[in-house]
């Protein structure tokens, strides 16, 4: 019995309030089955893709095309796609756009969110309306395209960043956080003669680290997952990010450029295809666990109210 109690405690069991009745065993069983099915629905597709990317051609043929667990894991598929061909190039472009884009977006968003966070400030209300209205209308694909064209951004990697530079939602989230910091802290710092940038870096940012991390994740995911804007704005296939290559190679099954592989490997083998899918998922699978714990801390739900 004590082992049972230990397991319950480890899983964070919360005792019911005295007025709550215990659910029927059948209800509990149904719940366990539903939760297991939900977990399997998320995990199995991802697991089978990862497993297949780690499996040798021969084992795949023997098993009928798919495995859930490779018996003899091999990194062959990854060494092939990362040998310096199209996929390597596209991965580097995606990494570059994601790093630069996230940095610039975060900087502009933080500055603007702080710059409109002071209660009763000059121009505060018009600025807020300027931002909020954009959440209710979109200029449309073609008018936005024309602006990108007029700015001379077509066929440059900046076209993947500038048109989505600031998200109104992220901005409002951060502004809400800055406004939640007691005004006396800011006033005291101003009395001490600190400039606005100094106050931002020494007071506002350290107190909103969780919210900044979440907003940073949102931007990073936007840039890493960017697909259609690349199709729309970039004709030069040499500038295409990983998602576009992934679509070409996995969804449409077109072989990668010959320079990537020697003739023996030129067929688009499934483990190589799946290795490209995994490459496109990895940064998200790696960063996500570190940031997701901030989700629950009111970062997002606070914003909805404003």
């Amino acid at each position: 019995m004590s082992a049972f109690t230990t397991v319950r405690t480890m899983l964070g069991h919360q005792p019911r309030a005295s007025w709550e009745s215990r659910p029927h065993a059948a209800v509990v069983a149904t719940k366990v089955i539903i939760l297991t099915a939900l977990a399997a629905a998320v995990v199995i597709p991802i697991l089978t893709v990862v497993a297949t990317s780690l499996t040798s051609e021969q084992e795949l043929i023997d098993s009928g095309g798919w495995v859930l667990w490779p018996s003899d894991p091999t990194l062959d598929a990854y060494t092939k796609v990362l040998r310096g061909g199209v996929v390597t190039h596209a991965t580097l472009i995606s990494l570059g756009v994601t790093v630069v884009g996230t940095a610039v977006s975060l900087a502009v968003t933080i500055l603007m969110a702080y710059g409109m966070s002071r209660p009763g400030m000059f121009g505060g209300r018009p600025l807020t309306i300027l931002v909020l209205l954009t959440m209710f209308f979109s200029p449309g694909m073609i008018p936005t395209y024309l602006v990108v064209q007029e700015l001379g951004l077509l066929d440059t990697l900046a076209a993947l960043i500038v048109p989505v530079l600031v998200s109104a939602f992220n901005l409002i989230v951060l502004r809400g956080f800055f406004q939640g910091i007691p005004a006396e802290l800011f006033e005291a710092a101003r009395m001490d003669g600190a400039g606005e940038l100094g106050i931002l870096f020494r007071i506002a940012l350290p107190l909103s680290a969780g919210a900044v991390a979440v907003v940073g994740l949102f931007y990073a995911v936007t840039y890493w997952n960017m697909f259609f804007n690349a199709i729309l704005y970039l004709n030069d296939s040499g500038k295409w990010p990983l998602q576009v290559i992934l679509r070409q190679y996995v969804l449409e099954g077109s072989p990668l450029a010959e320079s990537t592989f020697d003739t023996v490997d030129a067929t688009s083998s499934r483990s190589i295809q799946m290795a490209v899918v995994v490459l496109a998922m990895i940064p998200i699978l790696v960063i996500f666990p570190f940031v997701q714990r901030h989700f629950s801390k009111g970062v997002l739900t606070g914003a909805i109210k404003s």
Binding site: Q14, E20, M112, G115, F122, G140, V147, V166, L251, M281
Partner: protein, 305 residues
């Protein structure tokens, strides 16, 4: 309190440092949202990129009247509305039910692991989601490998026009059901425990309390989400559909957004496609404000007061 010019001037001098920080972001919003919005004037032109705004011919409402008699637009409108109704009926209630289920888990660690796991798919790109579905449900996919091994007939889901719309909704559920739950979960957490206790002492079981305490407390947030969803009535998932349009053909898969892209950018009917996109935008904005008005009538705050 009347704001005298000198007062405004003083506030400006006090806040100009802040305003300077906000400037780059404000410029972005002006250029990519407000200036871009003005670009919709080409909806009234026979726009030719080489000639530009000033050189292209004005055609008045010609593009709009043409849209009303274009069978391709009608197909796109019908597909868009069908997908929206499916999303509203099949997708919208699920995150609410899921939030209730997750909230009822009495093991905190299990609940938090489930949450993380269910949030994850939201952060995967549509290209990856479509690839995953193809690998699992495709004709040579995992499911058919299992069905084949068990000697059961094969399923034909991917690339089948009549299964296309349910497939879209299934993909949306897989990707976003968990993530959409987050807001409802927060709403359930805020329900006052004393209400539950009082109801339980009066003899209300779990389901009765769910119906009479939990759901009424969630009503404002459910209504708010519904209003926001109304704004998406004509926006049903561009990338998702674009990626799979070729497999089933435009008759089953063309929606207004893909129509604007293929007719405008690909085929070069710039003015005409912009007119279709502009009508779409106006209707979507009207839907949000209409739904908001309705929420006021029902005695809720809605999004704008």
């Amino acid at each position: 309190m009347a704001r005298t010019p000198s007062n405004a001037g003083r506030r400006f001098r006090r806040d100009r440092g802040l305003l300077l920080l906000a400037l780059p972001g404000a410029l972005y919003f002006v250029i990519f949202h407000y200036v871009a919005l003005a670009g919709n004037v080409i909806a009234f032109q026979d726009y030719i990129p080489f000639l530009g705004f000033s050189g292209s011919d004005w055609v008045g409402w010609g593009n709009f009247s043409q849209a009303f008699s274009d069978p391709a637009v009608l197909v796109a409108v019908r597909n868009t509305l069908e997908i929206f109704v499916l999303q509203l009926g099949l997708f919208f209630p699920l995150p609410i039910l899921l939030a209730i289920l997750i909230h009822s888990i009495t093991y905190k660690r299990i609940a938090s692991v489930m949450q993380s796991m269910l949030y994850l798919p939201h952060f995967l790109s549509w290209v990856i989601i479509v690839a995953l579905f193809q690998q699992v449900l495709g004709s040579t996919g995992l499911l058919n490998q299992w069905l084949g091994a068990a000697d059961i007939g094969l399923v034909d889901v991917i690339g089948n026009p009549s299964a296309f719309k349910p497939l879209l909704v299934a993909q949306l559920i897989w990707k976003d059901c968990g993530w959409s739950m987050i807001i409802f979960l927060a709403a359930i957490h805020r329900v006052d425990d004393q209400l539950h206790e009082a109801a339980a002492i009066d003899g209300a079981g779990y389901l009765r309390r769910l119906w009479h305490v939990t759901l009424p407390s969630m009503r404002p947030i459910i209504l708010l989400m519904l209003i926001l969803k109304m704004g998406d009535v004509l926006t049903v998932g561009f990338e998702q559909i674009y990626l799979q349009r070729e497999a089933v053909g435009p008759q089953a898969a063309e929606v207004l957004d893909t129509f604007v892209y293929f007719s405008g950018v690909v085929d070069g009917n710039w003015g005409y496609a912009t007119a279709v996109g502009l009508m779409k935008g106006v209707i979507a904005a009207a839907m949000v404000f209409g739904a908001n008005k309705l929420a006021h009538k029902l005695g809720e705050d809605g999004i704008l007061r």
